[in-house]
Structures are given as structure tokens and as C-alpha cells.
Subunit: 210 residues, 2 copies
């Protein structure tokens, strides 16, 4: 299965120009995303994606590549959208506390509204569970690095001591991923007011502790 | 696979007399535990366990039952040992903060020293991952209920307001399970001094927030 190497390719390396972002590539990737979310990764073929995108199989190969490349391109595009969404949601907020709370709200909203990962998790858990747990290393480190960078910038901007925010960032990523993996909860995380209250009450004390 | 129904049978119902705790049953379950940890659940048979325990196949069926019952008995015995270990580690401590810190240390020590769950997770992730994530409901609720009860008793004993400790208990279970599921970490959780420092620094603020 391609997911392990995809995870490493996705998150271990530097940002690249892959996937291309021209209109035809976007059309193929939109089709691939819908195909994967509907039928899972395992049973989907390049032919299925080509048909759904109303292009030829050769066009898919020329623009994106084989099936592994399609999966990688979809997940990478999703991850970039995720980062942009979260950054956009918090950019104008004045304090790190506000940005953390609204960032957490944006993360859960993104997972709800763009459910590639969550949808595949329910459709094909045997493929997605290893990618989100035992083999999550590169993706987990990328998320932690993203949040660590944001927390470090905030500390510097606010003139606070520059202690390493990695532990706090890691804990927050763990809590967030946990809600995807273990869905039974006493928190109603599909309710944005409750998500916000959760973050204020339980994430901000971790920030202070770090 | 038996794991889903096992999880429900294990954790949803009341405590029962199963498995029996006489010497012969213990001998069979010790053999089953070793068999499962070495060869996984899927490939192990009642015959394998009987041979390892040096008893007849009929004795295994009479004392414990079929393979599903063996798996259930092993996990249930492990869970009870886990609860007793954690309770023993914290019983003499004066404050809820101390009990929480040493309880977390005891949980991680138990996972390290009695690695049925962790061992099976590495040996047979396709069986164990659903049991620890999407289908973890009953086990997850049992752990949360255990910790909720302990926190509630502590609040009552210390004369503090009896607000519901369920949210804090859930968060702490989530963080603990996360270290089993996502092993890449900046924390050295095989070092007890570091585990203790982690709990003081990051779990106690959650207790105060709850």
C-alpha cells in the first residue's frame, strides 16, 4: 500500500511544486478526491479518476502520474489547504491565546467540512489507521512543527522568554488527533461554541504550562 | 474477528466471576497471554494454548472456553491487573495531585512491563488498531469512568465543589492512549523521572482547569 511512503514523501521533505495547480490538474485532483472519498483508496484506479474527471487516462498520467502520485497529490493538497485555512482563521487575532482557540476551531471545522482524512478513515480504516497512528511519524512531526513555529513566533512577538514550545505543541496535536481516532466523547465537538469553550478551558492552561 | 465483541463484553457489562482465578485457570491464561503476545491473536489456536499450558484441549474448553473466550479472559485479566496496579501505586498518597502524577507513572509502567496490549499492537496492528481507536468505545468509557470515579472521590474527600470531573478524566485518558497510538514524541516516556515531570507540568494544570 502506498500510504506509508506517501506519508514520508508528503511530510518529510521540503515543499515542492507538486502537485501542479493549473486548472486541468485541479480538475483531475477534484475528481480523484471524490473518487477516493466515495470508494476508498484500495479499490480506486487511475481509470476511475480519469472517467470522473472526463479526461483521458493518458492525461492523468501526464499531469499527475500513477495511482500513488494521485493519492500523494490529494493528501498534499489537502494538507496545504488545511494550513492555509487555519492561518487565515487566526491571522488577524491579537493574542496567541485567541489564535490558539480559533485555530483549534478552524482545525475541527476543516476536518468536518473537508473530510478527506476522516471520510477515508471510516471507509477504509485498515488503510488509514496505520497512517494516523503507528506510522504517523512524518505527518505527526509536520503538524507539531507547524504549531511549534506559530507558538515560537508568538512568544518572540510578545517579548516572552523563548523557551521551546515543542512539548506544548505536541500535546495539542495529540489531543486534536485523538478526537479523530477515538470519536466517543463527552464533548460535542460538532458545535463551534463548545469547541471554543473546550479550547479556552483545556488548551490555554497547557499553553501557560509550557 | 472477536475483538469488537470482546471489547463490548469486557467493558460494557458489570464485573463478573469470569475468568475463574483458580491455579489451573491462571496457568492456562498465562500460557494464552504468552501465546498471543508471541504469535498474535489471529494465528493462535486453542490447541497452541493447551500445548503451551501443558494441559489438554478439553481442559482449556472446560475451564475457559473457546478462542474468543480465551482472548476475552486475557484482556479482562490484564485490565483488572492494570486497575489494581494503579490503585496500589497511589493509595497511600495524600493529595489528588500526587495520586494523579503517580497514577500516570504507574499506567505507563504497566504498559511497559505487562505489554499485552502494546505487544499485540506492534505484532498485529490490523487487529488491535480498530480496538484502540474507532471501536474503542466501551474500553475508552471504562477507563474514563475509572478515572472520573477517582477524581470525584478526591474532590469529595477534600471538600471541594463537586463539579463533574468527566471532561478532565476524558482528556487525560486521551493523552495517555495517544502515547500508545502515536509513539513518536519529544518526551522520553520510558524514563520515570521524565514521566513524573511531564504529569506535574501538563496534567496537573488540566486538573485545575476542570
Amino acid at each position: 500500500m502506498a500510504v506509508r511512503s506517501t506519508s514520508e514523501a508528503l511530510f518529510a521533505g521540503a515543499l515542492t511544486d507538486f502537485p501542479p495547480s493549473d486548472a486541468l490538474s485541479e480538475q483531475i485532483l477534484d475528481a480523484a478526491r471524490e473518487q477516493f472519498m466515495t470508494f476508498g483508496l484500495r479499490r480506486s484506479t487511475v481509470d476511475d479518476v480519469a472517467k470522473r474527471a472526463r479526461v483521458s487516462r493518458v492525461t492523468v498520467y501526464r499531469r499527475i502520474g500513477n495511482k500513488d502520485s494521485l493519492v500523494q497529490a490529494c493528501l498534499l493538497r489537502e494538507y496545504r489547504r488545511f494550513v492555509v485555512d487555519v492561518d487565515d482563521a487566526v491571522a488577524a487575532l491579537p493574542t496567541v491565546e485567541d489564535r490558539l482557540v480559533e485555530g483549534f476551531v478552524a482545525v475541527l471545522r476543516h476536518v468536518r467540512e473537508h473530510p478527506l482524512v476522516g471520510g477515508l478513515l471510516r471507509l477504509e480504516p485498515e488503510t488509514m489507521l496505520p497512517f494516523l497512528t503507528l506510522e504517523s511519524g512524518p505527518a505527526f512531526l509536520a503538524m507539531r512543527a507547524y504549531l511549534t513555529d506559530r507558538l515560537r513566533e508568538a512568544r518572540l512577538a510578545e517579548g516572552r522568554p523563548a523557551s521551546d514550545p515543542t512539548p506544548v505543541a505536541e500535546l495539542m496535536v495529540r489531543i486534536t488527533v485523538s478526537f479523530l481516532l477515538n470519536p466517543v466523547s463527552c464533548f460535542a465537538l460538532d458545535d463551534e461554541a463548545e469547541v471554543r469553550a473546550f479550547a479556552r478551558r483545556y488548551l490555554l492552561p497547557l499553553l501557560a504550562a509550557g
